[in-house]
């Protein structure tokens, strides 16, 4: 039968070409979906302006990206891991056990986390304490811890709108949630005095107290969103009185649909985050495997291009998209040029 012959020869061709797989010539990047849009912007510009192919950028999450980075050295492993949180000692140990000894840490800037509601809704001015009193499982009333009785924002603080509390917050797999927990909920916990009561109850154990702070109410007013910000936006579109948690860049692309709330009286902008006035922000990083620097063509050039003033500077496309530029960019540029591996975590 002719078709059997064709199939057999096709299989043969497949087998031959499998063995003739050529060396990888494009950079491979994976990791945080928060860093992904920035990395894609840089990758695109890099492909346009250099004679190297455009890097392949994958999402998947910070933790997954770092794990992939630490899988070993070689063309089958990625070159760069994007991360919206700092690398952990466990990652470094994992890397070392797989022969990945030299890693460069590059801080590309800061990401602001904003609270926003439907554009036609009421205006909100929050403080971390408001969020704690709205979402925590137990809050302080008259010096005692009680199960959260607040139904509307006006119950939380009289000058907030009398609107049912409904919040869409990032799910626990998101790096954004960590920032929300630490910079909003825990800060509010301390502000309201709940932290001290928790600490006392736990015999002065700060860690246990922090954990108690982060216990959120489970009666449906706080909804974890495991998807992307687009999902949060769709939820807010359907539920006009809800408040959602977004990244600054996402909000900046959807200012016609979202009304942003102030935090501690500060409006989140690239500037107010850069000066540290707006409290809820976090640094963004990427990690490079130094062993790949002279193996994968264009890797060093890509890294230097990423942190160049043209891209990551205050007037570059990244800042325009919503990245808060790092004031210490010059230091990063120098470190990258010298390929300085990161020092042990302190």
């Amino acid at each position: 039968m002719t078709f059997l012959k064709t199939a057999a020869s096709a299989l043969a061709i497949g087998a031959i070409s499998a063995s003739a797989a050529t060396a990888r010539d494009q950079i491979q990047i994976a990791g945080s979906s928060t860093v992904l849009p920035y990395a894609a912007i840089v990758a695109e510009a890099f492909g346009e302006n250099f004679d190297f192919p455009t890097p392949v950028v994958e999402g998947g999450g910070s933790g997954a990206g770092r794990k992939k980075l630490c899988e070993g050295v070689g063309e089958n492993t990625i070159d760069i891991a994007n991360s919206s949180s700092r690398i952990k000692q466990s990652d470094i140990d994992n890397c070392a056990s797989n022969g990945v000894t030299e890693i460069q840490e590059v801080r590309i800037g800061y990401d602001g986390i904003v609270f926003a509601s439907d554009i036609n809704g009421a205006e909100f001015a929050f403080t971390p304490a408001d969020w704690y009193n709205a979402l925590a499982k137990q809050v302080v009333v008259d010096g005692n811890l009680v199960d959260n009785p607040n139904k509307t924002w006006a119950d939380v603080r009289a000058d907030l709108p009398a609107q049912d509390i409904m919040a869409f917050i990032p799910g626990t797999k998101h790096g954004t949630r960590e920032v929300f927990d630490v910079k909003v909920i825990e800060a509010g916990c301390e502000e309201t005095g709940a932290f001290d009561i928790f600490k006392e109850a736990n015999g002065g154990d700060k860690k246990a107290a922090g954990k108690s702070c982060n216990a959120l109410r489970t009666d449906g007013v706080s909804v974890d969103i495991d998807g992307d910000y687009t999902e949060t936006l769709a939820r807010i579109d359907a539920n006009k009185t809800a408040i959602g948690v977004f990244g600054l860049s996402f909000y900046q692309n959807n200012t016609d649909k979202l009304r942003v709330a102030t935090m501690g009286g500060v409006v989140p902008t690239v500037d107010s985050i850069a000066t540290g006035e707006y409290p809820v922000s976090r640094p963004l990083y990427f990690y490079i495997k130094n062993a790949h620097l002279d193996v994968i063509p264009g890797l060093q050039e890509y890294v230097e291009f990423f942190v160049s003033d043209d891209m990551a500077g205050p007037d570059g496309p990244l800042a325009e998209y919503g990245l808060v530029p790092d004031p210490e960019l010059a230091k990063t540029q120098e470190a990258v040029a010298n390929r300085t591996p990161m020092a042990p975590l302190n």
Binding site: M1, F3, L4, A7, A8, A10, L11, I13, G14, I16, S17, A18, A20, A21, T22, R24, Q26, Q28, A30, S33, L36, P37, A39, A40, I41, A43, E44, A45, G47, E48, N49, D51, P53, T54, V56, V57, E58, G59, G60, E75, N76, I78, I119, G227, D228, Y229, T230, G247, S249, F250, Q252, N253, N254, T255, D256, K257, D310, P317, E320, Y321
Partner: protein, 452 residues
């Protein structure tokens, strides 16, 4: 049940005799139950149709506009003072000028065009006017200059992409009200764009680039296209076809025609049926472990995607092929064997050609299933930002590529609302391909199917 006729109760003796003309209570009950069933069937069908109509209107409403795109026709002066300071026309030196260096040229050209057309510039600054053009435009210009360095110093007409918000305005996605709140555009820009359209400088036309250009980053949704995804999907389907068809057909022929019926073949049979029901993500996990981590095949490559989808499609093809072989009547085999054909001649000369339409239909349906599959591809790195087209096969099978369904997924996660339109457009393309494959399957069945 009620429609079981029981002589005792059905026709009670005496004067209550049933008539064919007047329906008695039992007939009425039976008719009523039939009407009820019909109604339920009708409701079920209409729920299905409503869901389909809802889905299609939502997708078509969002996505049809992605097949049109707004362009700005500009005469750009390729300023040698900016692009080739040395004046040597040395290509290496020209390449040193990055796209950032081209942006001011375009800005200047648009400002000049506005002035020349005599349009009110709405008091916008040069930078704000420049922002009406896609960030993709400097790259278009730079590629042209690098390809034609001798044109530096001349004024060349270009068709440049308009920015995403301007494009959205002409498609009705962006309105004056939303623009007033939008930090990426302003009503002044939209009014200027409208005036430029009246002068014929801004035009909206069919968007071929949607099918040919690669993905684009979040800042330029207007430039994003399906080129790499289409190519990646095509490569994967090729791999699936080349591997799954012969393996699946060979396995089915052996099982159906040659293998003895014993516990081993029974076990294989049960396992094949089982595999057909395994969630596709499982094949992704298997593919990651076997093809990438063990065999060392590259990430994000169509070959790995194709292999994974082959595993997923095999059971479908085997089941369809076996059904097709079974449908060939034994008399054909008996006749062939009777005139002295060997078992193999019988199968390949008589049974297989008769079963071919069924096999092809099964294969096409399997391929259509594979084409729309995204879950296993998530695990092998195909959900990536890929801008380079994969090379020609066979090397191209090993280059990174995207695929249609994962491109849809990818675009739905982007922050810029313009990507919603792109994602819906990609869904329309995917649906068109699926529809085409299913129609081919139906035609094959109609044309070549034989009944005995």
């Amino acid at each position: 049940m009620t429609d079981m006729s029981q002589p005792g109760t059905a026709a009670p003796s005496g004067k209550n005799r049933s008539s064919l003309l007047a329906a008695d209570a039992r007939t009425k009950r039976r008719n009523a139950s039939e009407r009820r069933f019909r109604l339920m069937g009708l409701i079920a069908v209409s729920i299905g149709v409503l869901a389909l109509v809802g889905l299609l209107t939502s997708i078509l409403g969002n996505g049809l506009s992605s097949f049109r795109q707004t362009y700005i026709a500009l005469d750009v002066y390729l300023d040698p003072a900016k692009l080739d300071k040395s004046g040597t026309r040395d290509i290496e030196k020209i390449k040193k000028v990055t796209t950032f260096g081209y942006k001011p040229l375009i800005e200047k050209a648009l400002v000049a065009a506005i002035e020349k057309a005599g349009v009110d510039d709405q008091g916008l600054s040069g930078k704000k006017i420049g922002a009406m053009i896609s960030p993709e435009a400097p790259a278009t210009l730079r590629n042209y200059v690098i390809a034609n360095p001798d044109k530096i110093g001349e004024t060349i007409p270009f068709d440049l992409l308009a920015g995403g918000r301007i494009d959205g305005f002409f498609k009705g996605r962006v309105t004056m009200e939303s623009a007033a709140l939008d930090r990426n555009t302003s009503p002044e820009q939209l009014r200027l764009a409208e005036a430029l359209r009246d002068k014929g400088i801004v035009v909206t036309r069919f968007n071929w680039a949607f099918f040919t250009s690669p993905d684009a980053s979040d800042t330029r949704p207007e430039a994003a296209g399906l080129g790499v995804a289409l190519l990646g999907s095509a490569y994967m389907m090729l791999v699936v076809l080349v591997l799954a068809l012969p393996i699946g057909v060979a396995a089915s022929i052996y099982l159906e025609e040659f293998a003895r019926q014993n516990w081993l073949t029974d076990l294989i049979e049960v396992n094949i049926s089982n595999l057909a029901a395994v969630p596709s993500i499982v094949f992704g996990i298997l593919g990651l472990a076997a093809f990438i981590n063990f065999a060392g095949l590259p990430q994000s490559a169509p070959i790995v995607g194709g292999l994974v989808l082959t595993l997923m499609t095999l059971p479908t093809i085997i089941i369809a092929t076996r059904a097709a072989l079974k449908a060939v009547p034994p008399s054909i085999r008996d006749a062939a064997l009777g005139v002295g054909a060997s078992k193999m001649q019988t199968v390949f000369h008589h049974v297989l050609p008769l079963a071919m339409p069924g096999i092809l239909t099964g294969t096409i349906i399997g391929l259509a299933q594979a084409l729309g599959e995204s879950a296993p591809l998530l695990l092998i790195g195909m959900v990536a930002f890929v801008r380079e087209y994969p090379g020609a096969p066979p090397e191209g099978f090993f280059d990174p590529a995207s695929a249609l369904p994962v491109q849809v997924y990818n675009w739905t996660t982007r922050g810029d609302p313009a990507f919603v339109e792109r994602a819906s457009g990609a869904i329309i393309v995917l649906l068109a391909f699926l529809l085409m494959m299913n129609i081919i399957a139906i035609i094959l069945r109609r044309r070549f199917e034989r009944r005995w």
